[in-house]
């Protein structure tokens, strides 16, 4: 496979609040490739959105990226570690290199400006077009994402559009400066099923036409199955299993991945049977459990070890990465535990 466009290693982002430090992202690794979709999946609060914002350098105060690297390969082959840039340097990457699509199209637009104004803003800033040319491009973009009567709609305010149209406009805005990486943070969560399918379709088409690298963030394994080429499963700020979508759906290795997969309905399931849910609740990020952070909820816990030692990220034979003692790291952990108690 070609080199990744974006390669993230050991990303750590923390919030320094008055009650203590929240380790929202605590060592995330992933690669994104041209023309491919990386699905990032995990329960709410596991750090998916913070990961996305970290990549763009727009984490809210009091949050800060405190470690790791985010290497972006630019169109000219130059490789830049986004983490080392100042905010001012980073600005020219936001939009033309990496763009974001958000979960709440209503709240993510300002209600005080027309959609043409909000789409055109980035175009004027990054491409140096004037008002008229920017508006023309905005209309073309609206047309591209399937907004009917784009020349009329461009002067509408966001509150005049339906939810599905708003998300299309949001995608048009994200694509306005021809980014090479698109991060879509739960782009369909707020939409009904039909609209959701249309938006996912649109993303697929755009990816095919433009070779976009997409990071698709979701808590829905169904969306992952439909969209992603590769998957990274997150739990409490860490990627616990990463691999191709086929392998992960066919032979999930991490107990958390297995639990997530059991909780999606299938066509074959008998009607009116209860879907299994994942036992226990997500711990608060303040008191992350010791040892494997999944151990209080894990059905396959290996006593003694999982409660005390953190499973390392292990590369498996089929090219996956898994953080679980069932798949490696056990001997080393036992040895160091024994060493510590001796």
């Amino acid at each position: 496979m070609a080199d990744p466009i974006l390669s993230v290693r050991g990303l750590k982002t923390q919030f320094f609040g008055p009650e203590g430090v929240v380790r929202a992202v605590d060592g995330v690794d992933f690669d994104v490739f041209e023309g491919r979709t990386l699905g990032v999946v995990g329960e709410s609060g596991c750090g998916k959105s913070v990961t996305a914002r970290s990549v763009l350098g727009i984490v809210d105060r009091p949050g800060k990226v405190v470690g790791g690297s985010m290497k972006l390969r630019r169109a000219n082959g130059e490789v830049v570690d986004l983490g080392t840039l100042t905010n001012e340097q980073m600005r020219k990457y936001r939009g033309p290199e990496i763009a974001l699509v958000f979960q709440e199209p209503m709240a993510s637009f300002s209600q005080h400006y027309t959609i043409g104004n909000q789409i055109g803003e980035g175009i004027k800033l990054h491409m140096g077009l004037d008002d008229r040319a920017a508006k023309k491009r905005a209309i073309e973009l609206l047309d591209m994402v399937g907004v009917p009567q784009p020349a009329r709609r461009v002067d509408d305010y966001p509150f005049q559009l339906s939810g599905g149209l708003r998300q299309r406009v949001m995608i048009a805005m994200a694509l306005s400066c021809d980014p090479r990486v698109l991060i879509a943070d739960e782009p369909t969560t707020a939409l009904d099923v039909t609209t959701q399918a249309q938006i996912l379709d649109l993303l697929r088409t755009l990816q095919k036409d433009r070779g976009l690298a997409i990071i698709l963030i979701t808590h829905d394994m169904g969306v992952i199955a439909e969209m992603a080429h590769d998957v990274s499963v997150m739990y409490l700020g860490r990627a616990v299993e990463t691999g191709s979508v086929k392998e992960i759906f066919e032979t999930p290795k991490h107990p958390y991945t297995r639990a997530l997969l059991r909780s999606i309905p299938t066509v074959l399931a008998k009607p009116r049977t209860r879907l299994p849910t994942i036992a226990g609740s997500i711990p608060h990020p303040f008191d992350r459990p010791k040892g494997c952070s999944y151990h209080p909820r894990c059905a396959e816990i290996i006593g003694a070890v999982c409660e005390k030692a953190e499973p390392p990220a292990v590369d498996t034979d089929d090219g996956r990465q898994v953080r679980c003692f069932l798949h490696g790291g056990m001997e080393e952990a036992k040895a160091s535990l024994a060493g510590a108690s001796a």
């Binding site: 914002r53 763009l56 727009i58 809210d60 905010n87 600005r91 020219k92 990457y93 936001r94 939009g95 033309p96 763009a99 974001l100 958000f102 709440e104 709240a107 993510s108 637009f109 300002s110 209600q111 005080h112 400006y113 909000q118 803003e121 980035g122 800033l125 990054h126 305010y157 509150f159 005049q160 805005m173």
Partner: protein, 329 residues
């Protein structure tokens, strides 16, 4: 939108009508009728009113007839610009009020501009740099501004202006200009005298508006559309000014109407202390002397101006917030 404006306009006219009834009730409040009071007033200063003259006056004002007839006659005269006679001053009410109403309006407007000019940047700064030293400092100064009565502030400023600069602060004109007819020099004199009283009057409202702006902006800064703006690569200042600040402006617009009566009633004591020729002190004097036509007229004028202010405030709000503009269709 047109329908909305028409509705608002009709509502405004209705309100003015109600205010006129209220003003008339105020005029009627003192015991006895107006002519009795007038005769008593005149006789106390040595002049006499003949019975025929008194009867004429009673006829003119419709005294002794039902309330609505009296009110109707009063309203009919007002429409022609006759607001009655001031007993205290023995001159038509319009003459007594004279320029004062315009000076009051001007002073309120100047105070409004000062309020905005201070509250907007300070409010933005305090919100963006929440919990910074400057934020705490502005908060402290703001609370002092709210707590200290503005006439006290006026006295303090007058004292220091005199001690430090030997300047006598007060009035809206210098002594030689006060009675002069209007001229370019007099206007310039007014402009020079305006800032200080405007500032003193503005401070209380400014402190409040800073708090409102800060709270609103803090709310808006947390909204997802701010993240969107940053994700587009906008500079931090542009992202903040274009989006959340714009959204936090609504209270400024809706404040216009509310600020006017606040400034007038709040300015009475300041006007007395600073010797400002506004309607506030006149209203107080008129009420004390039971000079009812004067008092009723001032109440009526202030009411009308507040209604007009509300209408302007609606227009500004529509301009600021497209949602309001579109809700109305």
């Amino acid at each position: 939108m047109i329908a909305f404006m028409t509705r608002r306009l009709l509502l405004g006219v209705m309100t003015i009508w109600l205010i006129s009834i209220l003003s008339f009730i105020i005029i009627q409040l003192p015991p006895g009728d107006f002519v009795d009071a007038y005769i008593a007033q005149l006789s106390s200063s040595g002049s006499q009113v003949s019975a025929a003259e008194a009867e004429n006056l009673r006829q003119l004002y419709g005294l002794g007839e039902p309330f609505y007839v009296q009110y109707g006659k009063w309203l009919a005269r007002i429409v022609t610009g006759d607001f009655g006679e001031s007993m205290e001053w023995r001159r038509p009410v319009t003459e007594v009020i004279g320029d004062r109403i315009w000076l009051t309006l001007l002073l309120s407007f100047a105070a409004l501009l000062v309020t905005w000019g201070l509250a907007l940047p300070i409010g933005i700064f305090s919100a963006v740099r929440q919990y910074s030293f400057a934020d705490y400092a502005f908060t402290l100064v703001g609370f002092i501004g709210i707590a200290v009565p503005n006439f006290l502030l006026a006295l303090v400023i007058m004292y220091f202006a005199f001690v430090w600069f030997g300047a006598s602060v007060g009035g809206l004109f210098s002594a030689e200009m006060a009675l002069a007819p209007w001229s370019a020099a007099k206007v310039w004199d007014l402009i020079k005298h305006l800032p200080l009283p405007a500032l003193i009057l503005a401070l209380g409202g400014t402190a409040q508006l800073i708090r409102i702006m800060r709270a609103n902006l803090l709310d808006e800064l947390r909204r997802p559309y701010v993240v969107t703006a940053r994700a587009k690569g906008l500079s931090e200042s542009r992202a903040i000014i274009k989006y959340p600040v714009r959204a936090a402006l609504n209270p400024f617009a809706s404040n216009i109407a509310y600020l006017f009566p606040y400034l007038v009633s709040g300015s009475i004591i300041v006007s007395i202390v600073l010797g400002l020729p506004t309607v506030g002190p006149l209203l107080v004097k008129a009420l004390v002397a039971q000079d009812m036509f004067l008092a009723g007229t001032i109440v009526l004028l202030l009411g009308v101006m507040t209604v007009v202010g509300t209408f302007i405030s609606d227009l500004v709000l529509m301009w600021v917030d497209p949602r309001i503009r579109h809700q109305m269709d």
